[in-house]
Symmetry: C2
Subunit: 351 residues, 2 copies
Amino acid sequence: MRASFETIAWTPGGTVRLLDQTRLPLEEIYVECRDWPEVAEAIRLMRVRGAPAIGVAGGMGMALAARGLAADRFEPFLSELEQVGAALVRARPTAVNLRWGIERILEFARKRRDLPLPELRRAIADEARRMRDEDIAVNRAMGAHGQALVPDRATILTHCNAGALATAGYGTALGVIRAAVEAGKRVSVLAGETRPWLQGARLTAWELQRDGIPVRVIADAMAASLMRQGRVQLVVVGADRIAANGDVANKIGTYAVALLARAHGIPFYVAAPASTFDLRLASGAAIPIEERDPEEVTHIAGVRVCPPGVGALNPVFDVTPAEHVTAIITERGILRPPYPEAIRARIPVEG
Amino acid sequence: MRASFETIAWTPGGTVRLLDQTRLPLEEIYVECRDWPEVAEAIRLMRVRGAPAIGVAGGMGMALAARGLAADRFEPFLSELEQVGAALVRARPTAVNLRWGIERILEFARKRRDLPLPELRRAIADEARRMRDEDIAVNRAMGAHGQALVPDRATILTHCNAGALATAGYGTALGVIRAAVEAGKRVSVLAGETRPWLQGARLTAWELQRDGIPVRVIADAMAASLMRQGRVQLVVVGADRIAANGDVANKIGTYAVALLARAHGIPFYVAAPASTFDLRLASGAAIPIEERDPEEVTHIAGVRVCPPGVGALNPVFDVTPAEHVTAIITERGILRPPYPEAIRARIPVEG
């Protein structure tokens, strides 16, 4: 079961086509980027979001740039491409994957200085497409491993959107769910709405409905009560970053779900590719928690819900200690505690 | 410190004045009810909400009715008043306190059949005012007991609105906080926004700001992470119903906060008057969990956030098992485990 829509694609006409996630779930609109500044703009406006998807968008933006550069020798070509990369990364300076996607194309080019430029331009476009295909392949491998953990007839709780929309396609946490459906399991999904941004209500609900997978939305605060009533069999979420000891940084609210799952004896799984592991971090304590604009809490869908003058807290991520994670599903297999050993054995140091 | 606004009042002109809670937090509008159908309408439209406040509104609505009845003998007077009571209760048929407030006035009248009718009408109005004053007195007594549990400089997490807005004034959980402030303690409040209705963001934030008590709003899913960072010293919430074993039914999300508090070694207090205890219920398992319209989850402030066709769950209450409740603050003192014994000793059977 592939996702029935394409988050990001390189079109036959040589443009980059993105599903505009700011218009979901009410409209399914695709934007077509003809040059790299249009890709930068789409990233900046969050038309494309999710770490892996942004990484691929960065790579494809670089491929559009390479095609358009007027240089007829390698040195000026590379120098101009590097300048584009520096500009493109500013579209979302804190997105590690954007930097990674751009750097991968630059490295690719640096190693091919002997190719004729027209050939190099084509090779770069191929490499950008390969990044997308690799991301989907990694998600599929994760799904194949992870679906074994899903019992038939399970109701699965997820948080935020770790789906086809956040990746080049298929998804991490939602990839595990898609793979379970492909394996013939009859599952049903509860999507935590994920305040303040409502990625669960807006995006997870949209993409699962689109693929015909039963999904219902809940307010985040409802999860505990549903668990107590036996209405949740397992939890699966994605991850933004995983430390060497297995601590998981992910969207705010993930840690609560992990604690609540543990209190009710429900397995809590994290689905994340090897690239999510940051082995320079000994533990989650070293992960800084970004705080964003309080307006994301005090306003919903443009409507003020708090009294004027009342502030709000808005931490974007939280850290779930490894002890609350039942298993980590990766494309290299399923990691189980003790995580430091499991991670050392299966995850390459370059991450 | 009394609340700087009046949720419900009997005006010198003999009308019932209500703070319109559907207009909060953006507008502070009072509606004046001249007869009982206007009170019924205000209850039906949720201009007044919160179990104790609705009970007092019911009593005052009956007093308005008593004044307006044309009957000049006791029997037809009582019969007409009973008919008004039956109509008024339909404004919110599931509100136990509304029925209680109406019945209290009817009982009061039945016992005074020998009074001249003009005098009885005045006595009924006095009784309705007394219901309001008693509710505030009960809240103040609860506050006096409960504030002893609040350390200086504490950051207090609360959920939903168990405040002056939900009662005749002062509040239950927020009454404890007001009493702590009166006792000179420097406290700060985190208000869980309380999806789907946002009573925390809309009402708790408004009434604490109005009284100059520092308050910030958080999305419900943020509580766990803030607890882990040591940014919450205690939790205090209200209750809708408490069973004989100490199980607490309250707004959805309360159970999650209780579990999370316990996991972080943070005290979790429930503030509730003796009238909240329903000693016919052996445990919380006997409390039915009402499910409301999924649109309250799929839409926020009138704006659709979920894809069309995707459903949602919307349980209104949850049940927190007594084992997770550190103490129950009542006007009769602070109850501690084992609750069955503490409740039997302090709470009269009539509730």
